[in-house]
């Protein structure tokens, strides 16, 4: 069977079993409407938070999933926070970022010990810093989008992942998060990857015992700016 025949046979079999046709106006309309104007289903009450409440919930959920969270009043405080975190965890004083504008605005030079590399993730990076575009407090979930600003490889290859998010970008629900992403991308398609990250990498595949750092970062440090 060639490719288009296979396609038709699968679709035909679905229609046969459902006893429907592909041009039934009511069905076509129902699908068109749902896709054109996506509407939320039930959103848990827990996600109905704003401002400082959402920051508190995000922090609580992330810490519950073994991430570290700290707060920087301004971008100026971030270099010292990062330097201290790396020193405390006995990590090398260097890190890699993409070309993200917010990360570029951080005065990294203030922490003279830090070496800043640019570009996509390499197999032996110890530390990367990325920016989350938004976050859903309901489960402590950061939304990171792929692109030159924040290469996906930086989210997964380094041993330690540091994520910077602006306080104003922290929202309540997944729905809020996706609406923020839709606003950023407008009519353009979604970026190649949207990574929802809620803690460091882990596995429980050996005797159901949780071990951090299965393949991705062993540590996740989240810095809330503002």
């Amino acid at each position: 069977m060639n490719a288009s025949n296979t396609r038709e046979s699968v679709l035909g079999s679905i229609r046969g079993s459902l006893r429907v046709t592909g041009d039934d106006a009511a069905r076509v309309d129902a699908v068109r409407k749902r896709l054109k104007a996506p509407s939320p289903n039930l959103v848990p009450e827990r996600a109905n938070v704003r401002g400082e409440e959402s920051i508190a919930l995000l922090t609580e959920m992330l810490e519950g999933q073994s991430a570290h969270v700290s707060r920087a009043k301004t971008l100026d405080e971030i270099p010292k926070l990062v330097a201290n975190y790396l020193r405390k965890n006995n990590l090398p004083a260097e890190f890699r970022t993409g070309s993200d504008g917010l990360l570029a605005d951080i005065p990294w030079g203030k922490a003279t010990s830090l070496t800043h590399h640019l570009g996509r993730g390499q197999g032996d990076d110890a530390v990367a810093v990325s920016r989350a575009r938004t976050a859903a407090a309901e489960t402590g979930t950061l939304f990171l989008t792929s692109g030159p600003e924040n290469p996906t490889t930086l989210n997964f290859l380094p041993d330690t992942h540091i994520v910077v998010i602006q306080a104003k970008d922290i929202l309540g629900s997944y729905e809020d998060g996706w609406n923020a992403i839709r606003k950023i991308y407008g009519k353009r398609p979604l970026p190649r990857a949207v990574n929802l990250i809620s803690g460091p990498s882990r596995t429980a595949d050996i005797e159901q015992i949780i071990v951090m750092g299965a393949h991705g970062p062993r540590r996740l440090h989240v810095i809330i700016a503002g």
Binding site: V10, R120, F156
Partner: protein, 472 residues
Amino acid sequence: MKPVSHAFKDNAKQALADEPLRRALGGIKHGFVANRAKARAKLPEFERLRDEARAVKEHTLAHLDLYLEAYEKKVTETGGHVHWAATAADARAAILQICQAAGAKTVTKGKSMVGEEIAINEHLEAAGITPVETDLGEYLIQLRHEPPSHIIAPAIHLNKGQVEADFRREHTDLPDNRVLEEPAQLVAEARAVLRKQFLAADVGITGANLLIAETGTSVIVTNEGNGDLTQCLPRIHVVITSIEKMVPTLEDANTILRVLARSATGQECSTYTTFSTGPKRDGDPDGPDEYHVVVLDNGRSEMLGGQFHDMLRCIRCGACMNHCPVYGAIGGHAYGWVYPGPMGAVLTPSLIGIDEAGNLPNASTFCGRCEAVCPMRIPLPKMMRHWREREYEKGNTPAFYKLSLKAWAYAAKNPRLYQTLTGLLIPLLARFGSKGRFRSLPLASGWTRYRDLPAPQGKTFQQLWRAKEMRS
């Protein structure tokens, strides 16, 4: 893999005699089961979310042809390719063709049950391409040439001593005197070995937990991050998935995701949930040049609208097997193919036929816990009963069963006879059962070999009822 579901009874007997397996399975109730209960208690809307998740899938299945078309259009618009596969052979051929066109030598793989279903690894190996499983559990069983024994914890049957022995046998370039006693040491070794594979692979194959029609997106959830390294490092990303993974919108995906991890591991959400749309864009410094989605039917379209329609709502969380007393006693391998536990008992006969898998729907006490915990409210016991009826109609039921059932039915339809027989038998059994239970009993050794049989308390229900009536 070649199914051995027909040998279910022998497989189960072997499993019951396997002490390390019993110990491993014993951990489920303190892990997955207890954690699910906690997660459920923490989210007051959980039961309503189950209803909504069910409604999302029912709407999608009723319009599945149209959503698949809308999805395909979006994937194509974002630069990806959809490959339709009516059968497992179609899917294998499509994937092999993509790998061969890329001149692939090694392929990294994220965990995919559909990948197991179509036995893609064997097919690639036969063509000289090396598939490397990267989910830790899948990697452990690949080293042992075993199928998964659980749909979300494929190596749940193994203990750390077995893993250590496998690593020492396979990772021969590492020093002999290294210490591999604790899970953390074993995980660190697997991480280092697989890191090289991630960086070297030509093609990465992942599954999909969801497909989103609105955006042409495939979604995977993982805790390890292996599925992400599998898709962002190689030049080509292939998604192997099946038609019923579809949901209409991102909002609908949210609803399913809210019940998935909580039902599976009891986590609020998985560590990583990744939404992938097309290949890398202009200016992207990483990501695959090509993005292919192989969408498999393999008998699913025929289940729509029929007796087994509800099974298509399954989101592969594993809650049914975690809560199943039969799975808890024998583990996943006894089921003899890819999908074990209650969901496997219903799905496997649909996919590979009742002649091969007819025993599986009998592997149930009908206690109903699977249905009680299923986030998609799939009536698993009812569907196992449908399979039993079909098996009976086909004449596959052994003569002794038929005769016993006929004898019981005859007695049950003659109340006086039934009462006389049970009135004689029950006091007799009550007298011989020591401390309210039998350690062994003629004709019931299949039961008493593995556990005690509770002895009747001395009177039949009818006798107790009459006594109660007379008192009041």
